[in-house]
């Protein structure tokens, strides 16, 4: 089966639960509801042989409603075809069901999304932070988190300070000026 056929059989099996099936440059995408996720994920794995979960990503559409979006990138080893599932998560819900029992690799992907975006996964076996430390109070990939970070303190574990971002993040101005002027880096005196 090709990706298009996989998407068609998904639409046939679930009807209106699979919305907005689109094909763009050979990539198949459809939108599903968060409540149907586990049902559709099981079907994808068992019936459509989409046995490889490549990645789970999350998007913060800050200022829109619903705010968050989670994207599941699926791949079929048997058919060498990709299918992408998208689902919207409103901020007040803040959680979706886990798929870590369907694709075990989702375990760490979901932990990363929890760490970076603050979305929770119902039924996840071990939902801890994976990159930042337990107790870090912010979710850094949210759009309302400043790029330079926020100060935090957890005695004997870790701390963070605001990073100086003079002239913008990682800015090198192309010119013949000295490196001090080309890449401004002011350090607050208290550091």
């Amino acid at each position: 089966m090709t990706g298009q056929e996989l998407l068609d059989s998904l639409g046939k099996a679930f009807g209106s639960k699979v919305q907005d099936p689109t094909e763009f440059r050979g990539e198949m995408t459809c939108v599903i509801a968060a409540s149907d996720l586990r049902e559709i994920a099981k079907f994808c794995r068992d019936e459509l042989s989409l046995d490889y979960l490549i990645d789970i990503t999350s998007i913060d559409n800050f200022g829109e409603e619903p705010r968050f979006e989670i994207v599941y990138h699926l791949y079929s080893m048997a058919y060498a075809a990709h299918v992408r599932l998208r689902l919207k998560v409103p901020e007040e819900a803040g959680a979706v069901d886990t798929v870590s029992d369907i694709w075990p690799t989702a375990d760490w992907h979901e932990r990363e999304i929890y760490d970076m975006m603050g979305l929770k996964f119902n039924g996840h076996p071990d939902l801890r932070r994976i990159l930042m430390w337990d107790g870090y109070p912010f979710f850094p990939l949210r759009k309302d988190f400043p790029l330079e970070g926020l100060p935090s303190e957890m005695p004997d574990v870790a701390f963070t300070k605001v990073t100086p971002l003079e002239g913008g993040p990682f800015v090198t101005v192309p010119s013949t000026a000295t490196s001090k002027d080309r890449e401004p880096r002011a350090r607050p005196p208290e550091l």
Partner: protein, 178 residues
């Protein structure tokens, strides 16, 4: 001033005696046997390994004994990006090293945070540890690390080691000599 006493010439030992300052002898011993704590945190650690391997051979400077226990180390080479998650662990390892101890900040990240101006990266290990030598580069070549090591050796050779380590004894001696 104490009086200089003439001693009889002893042909048996004369050839084997040198006169020097105590500090100079102590520093000479120290600087030629700097055991590094390889704090390899990112790609700089690869260059650190290259500096230790046969082509560049850090053993020529007496610093080939990389110890993975801080209790046996003299100089911590912070090679790589220090994240906030790792920062206090680095500090703790530094505190476990016995005195006297030195720190080399190897590369842009360890010196200033480098290109990682981010919420997750400590902007220079000098915010936590007293750094003796900074090495530029991203990552620095092994030669640059060797040059940094030689700079550190030069710094050590001018340290007032005896006074720093035994201040009360140094004062007593000076009193007795004056």
């Amino acid at each position: 001033m104490p009086e200089t006493r003439a001693t009889a010439y002893d042909s048996k030992i004369e050839g084997n005696v040198i006169f020097t300052r105590f500090d100079a002898a102590l520093n000479w011993v120290r600087k030629n046997s700097l055991w590094p704590m390889p704090m390899g945190l990112a790609c700089c650690a690869i260059e650190l390994m290259a500096a230790a391997a046969s082509r560049f051979d850090i053993a020529r400077f007496g610093a080939e004994v990389m110890r993975f226990s801080p209790r046996q180390c003299d100089v911590m080479i912070v090679a790589g990006t220090v994240t906030y998650k790792m920062a206090l662990a680095v500090k703790r390892i530094y505190e476990q090293m016995p005195e006297p101890k030195w720190v080399i900040a190897m590369g842009a990240c360890a010196s200033t945070g480098g290109m990682y101006r981010s919420y997750a990266v400590l902007q220079g290990i000098d915010q936590l540890l007293p750094v003796d030598v900074y090495i530029s580069g991203c990552p620095p070549r092994p030669e640059a690390l060797l040059a940094g090591l030689m700079k550190l050796q030069e710094k050590i050779s001018w340290e007032r080691s005896f006074r720093n380590q035994k201040p009360e004894l140094a004062e007593k001696l000076e009193e007795a000599l004056s």
